[in-house]
């Protein structure tokens, strides 16, 4: 189904270096509109680096990134947010001293139209009711799970065409992590296109349409979520089975 149209995101032959260290080599991935694609891999595999390259935080040394048919390699980080590539970074990274509501409002920093933004803030509260109760509270005083909801909510406020989620379950208690995956499933149901990075491979592949396995900077395996869950090598390496 998804492969019929041109992909929303197409990454080809992507290399990224940090000084002399090569973090990504020849990475190629695609994400189609409406898909939930999981990117799994061990510590240091280069998952966050790939998201940072997509967000324009780190520069690619080779390869191409096409979004909605345009080569965006030269676009600045803020231009990419404007295009609709929005990242929720790992470890949540909310603006601790600012209120919950200010965090959400800043998520829409690049957008215009106060009325629509105000409606979207209310929609975010409807999605995450716990945030509504704490809208005036400093974000830094929220629990880990609540901060994760806030970080995702802040990302949604940018009105993403492609939402990049970096390890949203990291550091959360198992039941809170499950709730987070449930919310991510809801977002997909609502039509948001998502690239989900996870070390928690089974939960991510379980809700994903397709997945990629990243190993030391390159794509080692790809397939549907179900195929990867059933794959012997994946089960050994990432699911501990």
């Amino acid at each position: 189904m998804p492969n019929s149209a041109a992909p929303l995101l197409a990454v080809a032959e992507l290399d990224v270096h940090y000084g002399g260290i090569q973090a990504l080599r020849g990475v190629a991935i695609e994400v189609h509109k409406g898909e939930l694609v999981a990117l799994v891999g061990n510590n240091g595999a280069g998952k966050s680096t790939l998201l940072h390259a997509l967000s324009g935080i780190v520069e690619a040394s080779r390869g191409s990134i096409r979004f909605a048919g345009r080569d965006i390699a030269a676009a600045s980080a803020d231009a990419r947010v404007r295009m609709g590539i929005v990242q929720v970074p790992e470890a949540r990274q909310v603006f601790g001293p600012l209120s919950v509501e200010d965090n959400l409002r800043l998520g829409a920093f690049t957008r215009h139209g106060a009325a629509q933004i105000a409606r979207d803030i209310e929609r975010t509260y409807a999605l995450f009711p716990v945030l509504a109760e704490r809208r005036r509270q400093a974000a830094g005083t929220l629990s880990g799970g609540q901060q994760q909801m806030l970080a995702i909510g802040r990302g949604l406020m940018a009105d993403p065409r492609l939402l990049l989620l970096d390890e949203p379950s990291m550091g959360l208690a198992p039941n809170v992590a499950d709730e987070t995956f449930e919310k991510i499933g809801d977002l997909k149901g609502a039509g948001v296109t998502i690239l989900l990075v996870e070390q928690n491979a089974s939960s991510a592949l379980y809700i994903a349409d397709r997945g990629y396995v990243l190993e030391t900077g390159s794509v080692a395996l790809k397939g549907s979520g179900r195929e990867l869950l059933a794959d012997e090598a994946v089960r050994k390496a990432y699911l501990g089975m």
Partner: protein, 292 residues
């Protein structure tokens, strides 16, 4: 409360208000990029000296002041673009050294382009003292205190209630997350250098009718503003305000009851005491801002 005490208090608050403005300039840039801008005092000097120069060209005082403030803001923006921005990946120490270099440059430039003379500016609304509780207050003092209060209110509105002000605070709290919200680092830096230059220049214009301006006036006022910021702490904008007013009053009391020769020493003693006993200042505790 004796009239003498009241007199010292009022003159201390007047001078303290200008220290607060200079201290707020330190605070804004420190919040945005973790750097102490040692060129801060030169914005004070530029504000006063440029006003004097424009007056010398025959412009009316309000016009001269507006142009002088604009000159200082442009100087602040240029400092950011030409000196700070290109070395953004340098260490904080590198940046601090750059600001020291810039301050020497600004002093040299003014000395060459303008002159080395003292320029007293005319008071904004006359020299007729007003009596408050028996103490004589110059109308200029009211200008200083009133304008400072207006600036503090404006800053509070900006940082607490405007989207761009919140964006600056967001960048200070978490740079990566701010960039991922589409906030431009360069915008944050330019804004903070521009604002901080404006605050310094306002202080320079306000105080020049009381204590004259010349090309080196920024050295001492910059130090006093730095002391105000250290004393009050850089954690919130209230730190430099409280620090500035306390410093001004302590100085005035010291000069009035002890000896005026010690007036400037007060600031140095306070800096030493703060560094030794409460490195985060009166209002400080915890939390450090991140580098932009």
């Amino acid at each position: 409360m004796g009239v003498e005490f009241l007199q010292f208090l009022l003159s201390g608050l007047t001078v303290g208000a200008t220290y607060a403005l200079v201290g707020l300039g330190f605070w804004i840039i420190h919040t945005a990029c973790g750097v102490i801008n040692f060129a801060q005092g030169e914005f004070v000097m530029l504000g006063g000296m440029a006003t004097a120069a424009f007056l010398g060209l025959g412009m009316p005082l309000p016009v001269a002041i507006m142009l002088a403030l604009a000159v200082a803001v442009v100087a602040g923006l240029l400092l950011e673009r030409l000196a700070v921005e290109p070395t953004r990946n340098g260490s904080v120490v590198t940046l601090i050294i750059i600001t020291i270099g810039a301050s020497i440059f600004f002093r040299g430039l003014v000395q060459v382009v303008l002159d080395k003379d003292f320029h007293p500016l005319p008071a904004f609304s006359g020299e007729e003292p007003i009596l408050i509780g028996g103490a004589a207050v110059m109308p200029q003092s009211l200008w200083v205190v009133g304008a400072t209060a207006a600036v503090v209110l404006g800053l509070w509105l900006f940082f607490e209630h405007s989207l761009h002000g919140k964006a600056v605070r967001a960048a200070a709290a978490n740079l990566l997350a701010a960039r991922l919200c589409g906030i431009r680092v360069r915008f944050v830096l330019l804004l903070s250098f521009g604002m901080s230059a404006l605050l310094g220049a306002i202080a320079g214009v306000l105080i020049a009718p009381i204590s004259a301006t010349y090309y080196e006036v920024g050295i001492m006022l910059g130090l006093k503003g730095f002391c105000a910021a250290m004393l009050g702490g850089l954690r919130s904008g209230w730190g430099p305000v409280v620090g500035g007013l306390v410093l001004g009053v302590v100085e005035a009391m010291g000069a009035g009851y002890l000896a005026s020769a010690y007036k400037d020493a007060v600031a140095f003693v306070i800096i030493l005491l703060v560094l030794m006993f409460m490195p985060r200042g009166l209002l400080g505790r915890g939390a450090r801002s991140e580098r932009v």
